[in-house]
């Protein structure tokens, strides 16, 4: 190393640099397009030019599905130039980082960690909420002060995707109605099929664990559950949704009913494994069904081997399942081609056939329910989570961030899995710690 003497001059210089830097970072700057400055009605604005679309569906970019969409889209709007589809593997993480700059494509899906009060900072309003609601479902969560910023591409219902033969081989034919019964079923599955993972967490990829948060509301059937958490200083108690969901995760791992080594899980491979009976069940939204069916077909099995079951809890004698939008498409507020961006979003929702191909609920109010979800929907009562009351849109995410729990990040449930495996904390200790952190944050946020 080469430092001989640190001179007085150095210290002075470093000090000066610090002052310059402080002065430089004082002014923040927006830039690019102004909200509302561009005509965005595809009928009148004449979509043309180049477009950049960010997507989380790397698989559909990879297999050419998106190329076909782009070709169809260009046919509908011949003036459109290049459509650059960028598939992003770690969508949440990368896009979030990218959003701290102006460069995050023209069309993108709103990352889950953006809080409603930040929407206008990043996205172009797409219309009045009240008006949008006459056309689209699930626009509320990505709205703020009466304006909507994103339209869901597809609706999901939250259940669990399972291998029918594996469960039948264990003599399990009825859906479990309590977490305890579910654990017993999984024990039976394990006994009948030694060596398989009765439930696969997909721990390593992270996001499949985040998805557990989407069951919130589906336990109690209470659409207000998330809103209620903003005043609840101990949400992991009293048989609440959070306690039941995270408790099930803890138990299923602690009882050895998941993959032996969660750090080597592999999402792409898990589809194959479910299809070929090496996995019993995965806790994933209905969007996963077609991908699993494809994998079954690719592995030479029948598509019917993939079944869908409700979350194993009944309240008042019925199963509940949360229905909601998957990612919502939005337009970058800094986009220079908002007209074409809007055309893409509308076309994608109305013309592309994406939601049907994904066996999801249509985001359109009068859209059809796909056949393969029909049976499931008859078994359950659907719950649509209520939006936050006006003025409190960002309260939940403020508390969430303040508490350091971050229910939108995989780390929190990865830690539950770690603790359940190592026994470093008991289930109750996990809940106590979560309650303490959450309670403190509720107080801090309401005070500050």
């Amino acid at each position: 190393m080469l430092l001989t003497r640190m001179t007085r001059a150095t210290v002075v210089m470093a000090g000066t640099a610090a002052m310059v830097a402080l002065a430089a970072c004082g002014g923040g700057g927006g830039g690019g397009g102004e909200p509302g400055a561009q005509d965005m009605d595809p009928e009148t604005c004449g979509p043309a030019g180049d477009l950049t679309v960010l997507t989380w569906r790397t698989d559909l970019v990879e297999d050419g599905t998106f190329d076909a969409y782009v070709a169809d889209f260009k046919e509908a709007y011949p003036e459109i130039g290049d459509v650059d589809i960028q598939g992003i593997t770690d969508y949440e993480g990368e896009v979030k980082t990218r959003m701290s700059t102006d460069d995050y494509g023209d069309v993108l899906a709103i990352p889950g960690s953006v809080s409603p009060d930040q929407l206008s900072q990043f996205f172009e309003p797409l219309g009045e909420l009240s008006e949008m609601q006459t056309q689209y479902r699930w626009v509320e969560p990505e709205s703020f002060e009466g304006l909507s910023y994103g339209i869901p591409v597809v609706g999901n219902v939250m259940g669990a995707v399972y291998n029918v033969e594996v469960f039948e081989s264990a003599g399990v034919t009825d859906f479990a109605t309590t977490p305890e019964e579910f654990l017993t079923d999984l024990e039976a599955v394990k006994a009948a099929n030694p060596g398989i993972a009765p439930l696969y967490t997909n721990y390593k990829d992270g996001w499949p664990l985040t998805a557990w948060q989407s069951y919130v509301g589906g336990v109690s059937g209470d659409p207000e559950f998330t809103n209620g958490m903003t005043t609840d200083e101990a949400p992991w108690s009293g048989g609440s949704d959070m306690e039941v969901i995270d408790g099930l995760l803890y138990d299923v791992v602690a009882q050895g009913l998941t993959e032996a080594d969660p750090t080597t899980t592999n999402w792409e491979q898990s589809k194959q494994m479910l299809a070929t009976g090496q996995i019993g069940v995965m806790m994933l939204g209905s969007w996963a069904i077609p991908q699993m069916q494809d994998a079954a077909e690719a592995a030479g099995e029948s598509r019917d081997i993939i079944g869908y079951m409700p979350f194993p809890v009944q309240t008042d004698g019925t199963f509940h399942a949360v229905a909601g939008g998957d990612y919502n498409l939005a337009i970058n507020v800094h986009s220079s081609n908002k007209c074409a961006a809007r055309a893409w979003i509308d076309w994608f929702n109305h013309e592309s056939g994406f939601s049907e191909s994904q066996i999801g609920l249509s985001p359109l109010v009068d859209g059809p329910v796909p056949e393969s979800l029909q049976a499931f929907i008859e078994d359950v009562e659907l719950v649509e989570m209520a939006a936050a009351p006006e003025g409190q849109e960002s309260l939940f995410s403020d508390i969430d961030t303040e508490s350091g729990i971050l229910t939108t990040s995989p780390d929190y449930r990865m830690k539950i899995v770690d603790d359940a495996r190592s026994g470093a904390r008991t289930k109750q200790q996990v809940f106590d710690d979560l309650n303490a952190a959450w309670g403190e944050a509720v107080q801090a946020v309401s005070a500050g």
């Binding site: 080469l2 001059a9 150095t10 470093a14 960028q86 990368e94 990218r98 999402w267 792409e268």
Partner: protein, 274 residues
């Protein structure tokens, strides 16, 4: 007898160490020639059925975008190394050949910067890059590789001292200005130092993961290391393709190493001790 035992221990330890070093790489190589079914059903030590099965390489190149990755890496490499050489040599020239007010301070500023590990400051550097409008561009990588490299300046300063001042003076008598002296006398004489910088800097940039990972998200602009990292997503169930991708990234470095062994060793021993 003792001699023989010592010798046996010596060679045994070398063989064991070499096996440990080579085995993980060898398994990636054999894996890259297997088909998907083979990879899943055969053991890691089983030879591939067809040693000439290059389909995984084709997949990695075409669908994995490695060709683009190499092209991007090449652009960044050439630009950043050219910049580093010019800047490093210019700074070294000024520091070694002139006395000027603030010379000591300048020197100290460079020396102090060697102590700041770049990995710690990215949280804040990110904001600077963003403010300059360089986010998600290869420009960000180029300026960062140029601007945060103090080792090359050090190498140039060291070497500059061995270039006799009489050469500068002779040129000056011939009527050359400072710029001409720099370009026509200093730079050509710095060749060995430049070679060292090209080697260590080139390898470092080629291998750099964190900076491109943080600053480039557009798949079309990605250099080779993040292109390879992106394999984990879509090819997650195709380890044979990932293996091919790994082998592809290693080959250029291996070729370089075999061709220039002596320079590589010298470069790293002089570079690493700073």
């Amino acid at each position: 007898m003792r001699q023989i035992v010592i010798s046996a221990v010596k060679y045994a330890s070398l063989v064991v160490a070499s096996v440990m070093m080579l085995l993980p790489v060898a398994l990636i190589i054999t894996g890259s020639f297997k088909t998907n079914q083979e990879f899943l059903t055969t053991g890691p030590f089983d030879a591939p059925e067809n040693w000439l099965n290059l389909s995984n390489y084709a997949t990695a190149f075409t669908r994995g975008g490695m060709l683009l990755g190499f092209a991007n890496t090449a652009i960044i490499l050439v630009a950043a190394i050219t910049g580093t050489i010019l800047i490093g040599a210019a700074a070294a020239y000024a520091i070694d050949r002139f006395t000027f007010r603030g010379r000591t301070a300048t020197l100290a500023l460079f020396l102090l910067a060697t102590l700041v590990p770049a990995v710690t400051t990215q949280v804040a550097t990110f904001q600077v890059v963003k403010a300059l409008g360089l986010y998600n561009s290869q420009g960000a990588l180029i300026v960062l590789f140029m601007g945060t490299d103090i080792i090359s300046i050090y190498i140039f300063v060291q070497f500059m001292r061995s270039i006799p001042r009489s050469l500068d003076e002779a040129a000056k008598i011939d009527g050359a200005g400072h710029l001409r002296i720099f370009l026509q006398v200093i730079l050509p004489n710095l060749k060995p130092a430049i070679a060292t910088v090209i080697i260590i800097k080139g390898i470092a940039i080629y291998n750099e993961f964190y900076i491109p990972f943080l600053y480039i998200t557009n798949p079309d602009l990605r250099p080779i290391s993040t292109s390879l990292f992106a394999f984990k997503g879509p090819f997650g169930a195709q380890w044979e393709v990932i293996s091919a991708g790994v082998v592809i990234t290693i080959i250029p470095i291996l070729v370089l190493f075999l061709a220039l062994q002596r320079y590589v060793y010298n470069g790293f021993t002089s570079g690493a001790t700073k």
